[in-house]
């Protein structure tokens, strides 16, 4: 007689990790691959959200600027995905990762998957994410993995520009009109619950950092906050620090409500034509 699965509430004796429990997720056994997938997915999903601003930006010049930032981030994802495929044993290509993975296999943080709000919301997201990226890519430029270091070196130039762009806007919105100040302050409050996750030391990051390949997320925290605080001060904005809740689970494939819709939109055409070339 086969063992009933739920006959007791004792933990499963199986060697298989329960869904969501393993920080590596179903992407494979390599912690380095899992770690890099988090970085690639952050860039990919952020690029997807930014690209939604094209034809919707406050000024035509901003359609161009946000398009440029989206292209940079998309480029970072495209540089990482094939490399990940070569080390996670699957040999997958960029479109396999982008178009064929289900939600539970994505390792981005919740910050980048949130739906577009107003322009202040986008600048709040970009300010925090690019400040984080500047510190991250600076550290990764010294990675023991040459490919990672190379990608980071190129990305660093780009994300400095992204941080500059976000900073210029946050300062102007914070120190512009009464309405823009109010909106920018509110945006900083709304983005707050999504920040802690950037600095969580998940298992894959810990392993990757130990190998010299990656960087411990928590080690980036102070420098990132310092950068954002400088901008907030110049913008006469207050950096909120008190939130009743915080997002978690992205690195383990546990996402928030918008992620499923984002993937449905992004993947639908590709998935409707299995095996097709475009």
């Amino acid at each position: 007689m086969s063992t009933p699965v739920n006959s007791t509430n004792a933990p499963s004796e199986s060697d298989e990790a329960l869904p969501g429990a393993a920080d590596n997720g179903p992407s494979g056994v390599s912690p380095e691959a899992a770690y890099l997938l988090g970085l690639a997915d952050d860039a990919m999903v952020c690029a997807q959200r930014l690209s939604e601003w094209m034809t919707n930006a406050p000024q035509i010049e901003e359609d161009m600027a946000l398009g440029n930032i989206a292209l940079d981030l998309l480029g970072q994802a495209r540089a990482l995905y094939p490399y990940i495929g070569s080390i996670d044993g699957t040999g997958r290509g960029e479109d396999d990762y982008a178009m064929l993975r289900d939600e539970r296999d994505w390792r981005n943080v919740h910050l980048v998957e949130q739906e577009r709000g107003d322009f202040a919301d986008e600048m709040a997201r970009l300010l925090w994410f690019s400040a984080y990226q500047v510190e991250l890519q600076t550290a990764l430029s010294g990675s023991s993995d040459d490919v990672v270091a190379g990608v980071a070196g190129k990305a660093l130039k780009e994300v400095r520009y992204h941080l500059d762009h976000a900073s210029l806007w946050v300062v102007r919105l914070g120190d512009g009109t009464e309405e823009s100040h109010r909106r920018m302050q509110a945006a900083l409050q709304r983005v707050l619950p999504y920040l802690a996750e950037l600095f969580d030391d998940d298992e894959a990051s810990v392993t990757a950092a130990g190998l010299g390949v990656g960087v411990l997320p928590s080690s980036l925290h102070d420098a990132v906050v310092a950068r954002v605080r400088r901008v907030a001060d110049e913008a006469s904005l207050v950096l909120p620090d008190n939130s009743p809740w915080r997002s978690r689970g992205g690195r383990a494939g546990i996402h928030s409500r918008p992620m499923g819709y984002l993937l449905a939109e992004m993947q639908h055409i590709a998935r409707s034509h299995p095996g097709a070339t475009w």
Partner: protein
């Protein structure tokens, strides 16, 4: 962010008439160029944005290219074709140089 409604934008009709961003002229020197050449114009609220927009629009962010932006109002020019009237008091009128869109050959697009 997700789940929080964004306050609706005030209707444009209720706002005071919007003041246009000032006009800037853009001058670009290519990587191997010797001087800046007038590339065109753009609108921006201030110098920092004028530079960034110029970089995005006129050089597609190519590196090694030097950009100058000048408020159109700050440019005083003589007309290259008016040989006799160079000392004419009308010399303080703002002209657009005929080399409006000549960009150095070594500034590539995309």
């Amino acid at each position: 962010m997700s789940g929080v409604p964004t306050p609706p934008a005030e209707k444009v009709a209720d706002r005071p008439a919007e003041k246009s961003w000032p006009l800037w002229e853009v001058f670009v020197r290519g990587k191997r160029g010797l001087s800046h050449v007038h590339a065109g114009s753009l609108h921006a609220p201030d110098a920092a944005f004028a530079l960034r927009n110029a970089r995005d629009v006129y050089t597609r962010r190519q590196e090694g290219v030097s950009i100058w932006v000048v408020l159109a109002d700050d440019i005083t020019a003589s007309s290259p074709d008016e040989k006799d009237s160079f000392f004419d008091p009308a010399a303080d009128k703002i002209y657009r140089h005929p080399t409006f869109y000549d960009v150095p050959d070594d500034v590539e697009y995309l």
